[in-house]
């Protein structure tokens, strides 16, 4: 059932378009930097590591994923999560899935798992395409951390991968919110819009000083801590807080989705 669902989701045209869009980010950034060259001055303008890409192609992966993490990946993940249940409910497909001897809890768990895998694949696509394009267009070599120390190319790629996985994990809360929204409606677009809207609103509220004391509860609050992997030594506290944050949102919203879906009258 899981493989069936994964195969079904990955082969959809919507998925292909989404992943093409994700792959376009590092390609676009890389080509622009290749033509225009590194921004002068290098005063940390633009996305993180943007000014380092032309010196070391590995940084294209970092720049691309840290950029995509803010809007594009949450958007694509919102759509995928919003589609999980609502997508089946449109056109009355859900009643046939549930007429198979499958428990609702298992169906929900499996759909959610596929959405989590999808989110991970989305982030890793940006990372891998960034790495490939970066190494094709620019020289690659040992990586300089934010602390000014040098780590081997292999270590750099490993950390890039971890940053990608953290970017993925940062969207797991979105998956949970999206799956819950998806159990409330028969409209994929509605569920996705509510989810993405919530993410955007939270990230705006996150920047308001008056809300600083509740901001740590926002699912977006620790997103930028994945950059701490590029310090020497790695600063783990923020990363762990992010993971805890994501886990908390997952428990609450997957729990709510479960409560809703297992008691819902399937009318569509």
């Amino acid at each position: 059932m899981f493989l069936e669902e994964l195969g079904y989701v990955l082969k959809r045209r919507r998925t292909l378009v989404s992943f093409a869009l994700l792959a376009a980010i590092p390609i676009f950034l890389g080509v622009v930097l290749d033509i225009v060259g590194s921004p002068g001055g290098g005063h940390g303008q633009g996305p993180a590591f943007f000014d380092k890409v032309t010196h070391n192609g590995v940084f294209l992966g970092f720049t691309a994923v840290l950029t995509a993490q803010l809007i594009i990946i949450p958007l694509i993940v919102s759509i995928a999560a919003g589609d999980t249940i609502a997508g089946e409910a449109t056109d009355g497909k859900l009643r046939y899935l549930l007429s198979a001897p499958v428990s609702r809890t298992r169906l929900l768990a499996m759909k959610s798992l596929v959405a989590l895998v999808y989110a991970t694949a989305a982030a890793l696509t940006v990372v891998l395409v960034g790495l490939i394009v970066g190494s094709a267009l620019f020289p690659i070599g040992p990586v300089v951390t934010l602390s000014g120390t040098q780590i081997s190319l292999l270590d750099g790629i490993w950390r890039l991968l971890l940053v990608g996985l953290l970017a993925a994990a940062s969207t797991f809360s979105i998956v949970a919110v999206g799956v819950f929204a998806s159990t409330l409606t028969d409209s994929t677009i509605g569920a996705a819009a509510v989810t993405f809207g919530a993410v955007i609103i939270l990230s705006i509220l996150d920047g308001i000083p008056q809300l600083a004391h509740i901001a740590p509860l926002f699912l977006t609050h620790y997103w930028q801590t994945s950059i701490d992997l590029m310090r020497s030594p790695v600063v783990w506290s923020g990363i762990l807080k992010n993971l805890l944050e994501q886990a908390g949102w997952m428990v609450v919203f997957f729990g709510a989705a479960w409560a809703r879906f297992t008691t819902k009258d399937v009318l569509s």
């Binding site: 940390g44 934010l146 602390s147 000014g148 120390t149 509740i214 509860l217 409560a259 819902k264």
Partner: protein
């Protein structure tokens, strides 16, 4: 509405929703209440007298090798001054200084208490580092990709002094030592109920100035119960409940760090700058040689002491900091001449046009009156 709510909770959905709802309330509650709970949960410690605490704070038994220092500042500096500060370069040391004065800085540090110190100030987009070891001091700024070498001539007294200074981070203990060893007689010293600071059970000393003319309402000093290290200092203005200035650890470790955290070599592609000690000292030395003899005296006692320095260069260093400070103050005429007064929530500073500098934790009126007496 209430009908809908009651229906929800009579329904199966409502019953099942109870589980995640409880988790949500628990998580939110924990997250919001955690700081309060931790500060409210008082560790149980054998009671000590203020004198015992001061004694142990001045002679700690264990050494802090690494951790995180949090500095917060709500001094209430004049807005025009703050704007001028932040208008300047936001990177590097001067940027950090601005940040420290206006809002706060959080830094990680490592030391081996012998020759090496590393300070790391992470920001969302980059990092500022200080690597100090064996006579070479590197300043690294990732946002400008610049490594600056502070080269110290070897074999001089300055080097050994610089080394010993460099191996000690600017910690709460520096401030606490200054406060405790010159403990003003005019303060009431009490021991508050213990708290957790940086996860350690700590005694809390409370210094309350007796002189009502002092701007300072109280100073709290947290002393690690097991080692005697000062874990934090909070300075609260009179009439306020929140600290205007605080330095404390949010994490500490008592084990020596790996030597790898201290090593730094200029990464390829970085801009390298060298700062000779002469260049660092130049403004100070020049000022010292051209100025008439500098004198210093204290007026008053305790927390309301006003320090007066005379004979400074007529036109103080034309840094943006100083011109910003002058621009933001009020022009006054005092018994000892014209000048500018800058006030913050815990201190007042007078900069005289004739090379006089006076400052103290007192309101402007008291400062100016003291100047008139002096």
């Amino acid at each position: 509405m209430s009908n809908a709510v009651s229906r929800l909770f009579n329904s199966r959905f409502g019953v099942r929703l109870a589980l995640p709802a409880v988790v949500a309330v628990g998580a939110v509650g924990t997250a919001l209440a955690y700081p309060q709970v931790v500060s409210a949960s008082s560790p149980t410690l054998a009671s000590k007298t203020p004198a015992q605490l001061i004694e142990s704070a001045l002679r700690p038994t264990g050494r802090i090798y690494s951790g995180t220092i949090v500095e917060t500042s709500g001094l209430g500096l004049p807005t025009s001054f703050v704007n001028q500060l932040s208008g300047g370069s936001a990177s590097g040391l001067s940027g950090l200084l601005t940040q420290a004065l206006t809002s706060g800085v959080t830094a990680n540090f490592w030391t081996n208490h012998a020759s090496s110190l590393r300070i790391q100030v992470p920001s969302t987009s980059g990092e500022f580092d200080l690597y100090a070891s064996a006579g070479s001091v590197w300043e690294w700024d990732s946002t400008t990709n610049t490594a600056t070498n502070l080269r110290l001539p070897s074999g001089t007294k300055a080097v050994s002094r610089a080394r010993s200074t460099a191996s000690t981070p600017p910690s709460p203990s520096v401030i606490a030592d200054a406060l405790l060893s010159h403990l003003p007689a005019g303060a009431t010293v009490t021991v508050n109920s213990p708290e957790y600071v940086a996860g350690q059970p700590a005694y809390v000393l409370n210094l309350a100035p007796n002189d009502p003319s002092s701007l300072i309402g109280g100073v709290r000093i947290a002393v690690d119960a097991s080692t005697g290290n000062v874990l934090g200092v909070w300075i609260t203005p009179r009439g306020s409940s929140s600290a205007a200035f605080a330095v404390y650890y949010s994490a500490v470790s008592f084990t020596a760090p790996s030597s790898s955290v201290f090593s730094f070599s200029v990464p390829s592609g970085a801009t390298v700058k060298t700062l000779k000690p002469g260049a660092v000292m130049a403004p100070v030395t020049r000022g010292a040689t051209t100025a008439p003899a500098v004198t210093h005296k204290s007026i008053g006692t305790g927390f309301s002491t006003v320090e007066v320095v005379t004979g400074l260069p007529r036109r103080p260093a034309s840094s943006s900091l100083m011109s910003g400070l002058l621009g933001s103050g009020t022009k006054v005429t005092t018994a000892i001449g014209q000048g500018t007064v800058v006030t913050t929530s815990v201190a007042t500073v007078f900069i005289g046009n004739n090379g006089t500098l006076a400052f103290g934790a007192v309101p402007q009126s008291v400062l100016l009156a003291d100047l008139g007496q002096g």
